[in-house]
Amino acid sequence: MNGATTSWSVLGVVVQVMLVIAGAPVLVALMRQVRARLEGRVGAGLGQPWRDLRKQLRKESIAPDGSTMVFAAAPAVALSSMVLIVCAAPFITTTSPLDGVADLFAVVSLLLVASIALALAGLDTGSAFGGMGSSRTVTVAALAEPTLLVAGFALSVQVGSSNLASLVEHGQRVPGTILSPASLLAAVALWIVVVAEAGRLPVDNPSTHLELTMIHEATILEYAGPDLAMVELGSAMRLAVLLGLWGNLFLPWGVATTAGPGTLALGAIVFVVKVAALGAVLAASEVFMAKWRLFRVPELLAGSFLFSVLAVSSSFFLS
């Protein structure tokens, strides 16, 4: 790799990080807007999450009496693991110099680090809500992790590598693999996990504050001000990361495989369109869905685990 290419690929990583940080709250707004329009409401517009973040940054952080460093550090840790994933994952370009730092399995673990940081913070508040949200977050994460890893296994087997850039490039080079039964089954399994991990319906309702149903909101109930801003930005980035990963693994077209101004620009545009479209589809499907009770969620996740196991088996038996 010569000097110019290296600097372009470094620029690619920078653009990717800026794009996800700036765009994630807009993605949340877009999904809210889609829901609002389908439900016959006007909606708050695409700028609302950023206006909320700005407002929260000017307020005061509050820590519950008796909480520890864990409560104070959790938002920064969760946000930092999201930024690290965005640095290492191929969202607009596969030429990232950081690709070797974290592969698919490491990215899955980093997603879990973010959930666990907030789950510990929820316990640390000492309120019943915090404990409840924490317990539920951990339950969903513990059951989603196997699906993520096994579906990742199914995808890696076809390519012979678990590095994300290799997976995306292989998908572009050999489009047939994406239409193979293994990939299709893995796509279904991962979609369910994306919904669960991002805290969307029917697993969790991101817009509820009803005590008995909330998961994510109960965990972060005690946060205020800049801390809350970090948590909200982190969860918006989590949504963007999950949709982006799903999009690039199963619709890899448009991701830049060579470093240069043109391919980077194209990659960025395609990535934005892809994630926006997936977000809109997810939001539209949520309009027709109710939240499931907590103890039916494991059934959903068990179903997705089954899909991922089938994906692995078919990658062997049908190849």
Binding site: D124, G126, S127
Partner: protein
């Protein structure tokens, strides 16, 4: 004198001192006894580390002492594989030895030395136990091995029973432990005797040379017998039942030694006999090992997830981690039998690295649990809480251990679990079709590892979050104080060990690769290499633990700094929101039982929790409820299903045997006569 010889000399010297110390114990005041015992334990550990490091650096060493053991001779042979396990035992022993100095006097009050833990027998048995564990891998023939194995078992039994006067459960745990460890010894003894008899020699070198000439049924019989024996020591399901009993009842530094060092010797036995002496063997052996490993990992993690006793939780977590290690070993054996040295060596490195990682974090966790126990008298997570304020150092160190154990970056367990997954996923290559057994076993193994990893995270969030965070749930937890300096020093040492493993696993991988040379069917140079990034030979896959750790912590600090700068406000402390009502009481917090309830309910069919609700009504009216008692107990179902029939059989046999012995001398003489006749007839027929 070589490093190995001087290390072993140190072990021998310190053990002799310990025995002399035990004899002189009546002269030493109980104030100084723990110091002496801890120092000797550290010396033995240091000897183990020196000898082990010497062997790992490539030197080999052996000695024969012809008259030391009756009917046989004592042979010590130290090769790199033995060196790895000796180093591991040594490191754990040094941390536990330092820690044990302060343990009998939790509040620095030497007049209130804890009953049992400070006793002479226990203090003398500690260095002996460590010395036996260092000597087991060094044994070079069957007799030496079995003698050392038995010394290890007996010394640990004495240590488990340390507090038997204070609590009746300790005696129960001791009986279980004694029964299981001796049943295991019988299996190992039978296996090795069959092997040595068929090979015509009892030295490991001779058996190694003769093993290829044995019939395959003999080899399989030997392997199955030793796998049962070593598997029970390693705590594999269904022979794990002694772990959740003995570990909680033993003094905590003994639990650390047993759980982080002794169970590894079970693994050592399987590696030594299966891969080294028997030379790899058949594929179905390793499919069996893989299956038992997967079962242990899943069952262990589920039981640990439901457990509320902190030390019991850690004991089940040992079963889980040994399960993960045996998944790696089994898969490595499968590929070694199929002549795929690349994958076999990668998986074996993953298994060995996980063994070392497990030793590191489990030492730290048990020592941390011991610190809580000494300070509060509590093992029940439901009564803890808020300890982070009162025991900040212990909380931080336990948190680091939990991070390592949960297999999340940047902890040390993450690296080895990642390597294990890489080994398993590359078993199905995109080009060549694997055979059916591999194609079925590997996805299931990945599923088991993945489910174990997910549930393991939940378990350690529960252990750390409920135990140390939020507000105290009992008066004991509220009155906790930080433990003495020596105990903290022991934990810090274990934490440093974990940190090195987490950030620079490659520094260790080179030594592990040298240990693989002792396993002829697996041996391959450099399956894992790289500087900053972990690269795999012949496989595309890389990950950089040190960069991930740096980016995570650096990023978090930077983000926190930037947010503070932009908002410019301090964090204010306020009351927890109580739904507009009065202040929440600590009793309203989630307990460990409540925390694990969703997962317990999801895995209802496996765990089978027993629930009990007592509703007491007011005397005046049955419509008014006075109190509700809810109890939940998660029993070990495998234990309850499998063992009662065995006990019943043993009791039946005891009853029958009692009829034989009725006190009549005439009948005893008749037994003697009949016995003699039978022996004569058998000898006459067979000659």
């Amino acid at each position: 004198m070589s490093l190995i010889a001087s290390g072993l000399l140190l072990v021998a010297g310190a053990t002799a001192l310990a025995c002399a110390g035990a004899a002189l114990a009546s002269r030493i005041s109980h104030r100084w006894r723990p110091l002496l015992s801890g120092a000797l334990t550290c010396l033995v550990g240091l000897g183990g580390v020196l000898a082990g490091m010497g062997a790992l650096s490539g030197a080999s060493w052996s000695v024969t002492m012809p008259r030391l053991l009756p009917l046989s001779q004592a042979v010590l042979v130290v090769d790199p594989l033995a060196g790895l396990f000796m180093t591991l035992v040594g490191v754990v022993a040094i941390a536990a030895g330092i820690y044990s100095v302060g343990y009998p006097h939790p509040h620095g009050d030497e007049h209130k030395a804890a009953e049992g833990v400070g006793s002479r027998t226990v203090q003398a048995a500690l260095p002996v136990f460590v010395a036996a564990m260092v000597a087991v891998p060094a044994a070079g023939n069957v007799t030496t091995f079995l003698v050392m194995w038995e010394v290890m078992a007996l010394a640990s039994l004495v240590l488990v029973l340390a507090e038997h006067r204070a609590r009746p459960e300790v005696g129960q745990a001791g009986v279980w432990y004694a029964g299981m460890t001796h049943a295991g010894l019988v299996a190992i003894l039978l296996g090795l005797v069959v092997f040595a008899n068929a090979a015509g020699t009892e030295s490991f070198a001779g058996m190694r040379a003769a093993s290829s000439g044995l019939s395959s049924s003999t080899r399989s019989l030997v392997f199955l017998l030793v796998f049962v024996g070593f598997g029970s020591k390693a705590g594999l399901v269904p022979l794990h039942v002694w772990l959740p009993r003995a570990h909680p009842e033993a003094p905590s530094y003994v639990s650390a030694l047993m759980s982080a060092a002794m169970v590894n010797l079970g693994l050592y036995g399987v590696l030594r006999v299966g891969f080294d002496l028997l030379g790899g063997g058949q594929r179905w052996w390793w499919i069996l090992v893989l299956a038992v490993g997967a079962l242990s990992a899943l069952y262990g993690v589920l039981q640990a997830g439901a457990a509320t006793d902190l030390k019991r939780l850690l004991a089940y977590s040992t079963t889980e981690n040994m399960g993960l290690i045996f998944i790696g070993v089994g898969a490595a054996g499968m590929f070694a039998a199929a002549d795929n040295a690349t994958l076999a060596s990668l998986l074996m490195i993953a298994a060995l690295l996980h063994t070392v990682n497990h030793a590191g974090f489990k030492t730290l966790l048990f020592l941390g649990a011991g610190a809580v126990l000494r300070s509060t008298g509590l093992r029940d997570l439901d009564k803890m809480g808020g300890l982070a304020h009162r025991m900040p150092a212990t909380a931080l160190l336990f948190g680091l251990g939990a991070l390592g154990a949960s297999g999340l970056p940047p902890g040390n367990g993450f690296v080895s679990e990642w390597l294990l997954l890489q080994g398993l996923i590359h078993s199905l290559s995109p080009s060549g079709s694997p055979d059916v057994a591999t194609a079925i076993a590997m996805p299931l193994a990945v599923g088991a590892v993945a489910l174990t990893a997910g549930l393991g995270v939940a378990m350690f969030v529960k252990a750390f979050g409920v135990g140390f965070l939020a507000r105290p749930r009992s008066a004991e937890a509220a009155a906790a104080t930080e433990v003495p300096r020596t105990m903290r020093a022991g934990m810090v040492l274990a934490a440093v060990f974990c940190a090195i493993l987490a950030l620079a696993p490659l520094a260790l991988v080179r030594s592990l690769q040298r240990a693989l040379r002792a396993l002829p069917s697996i041996r391959q140079e450099r399956p894992v290499h790289g500087a900053l990034e972990l690269q795999l030979s012949g496989i595309r896959g890389s990950m950089s633990p040190v960069l991930i750790a740096l980016a995570l912590t650096g990023g978090a600090l930077l983000i926190a700094f930037l947010v503070r700068r932009t908002s410019g406000q301090q964090r204010r402390t306020a009351l927890v929101w109580g739904c507009g009502g009065t202040r929440l009481s600590p009793r309203m917090q989630y307990t460990a039982t409540a925390y694990a309830e969703p997962l317990t309910r999801v895995f209802d069919d496996v765990l089978g929790p027993e629930q009990d609700i007592d509703v007491t009504h007011h005397a005046e009216s049955s419509y008014l409820v006075q109190s509700i008692h809810y109890r939940q107990r998660v029993a070990d179902r495998i234990e309850n299903r499998l063992y009662p029939p065995l006990f019943a059989a043993a009791l039946w046999w005891a009853t029958v045997a009692r009829r034989l012995q009725n006190g009549s001398v005439h009948r005893y003489l008749a037994y003697g006569l009949v016995g003699l006749l039978v022996v004569l007839i058998v000898v006459g027929v067979s000659w």
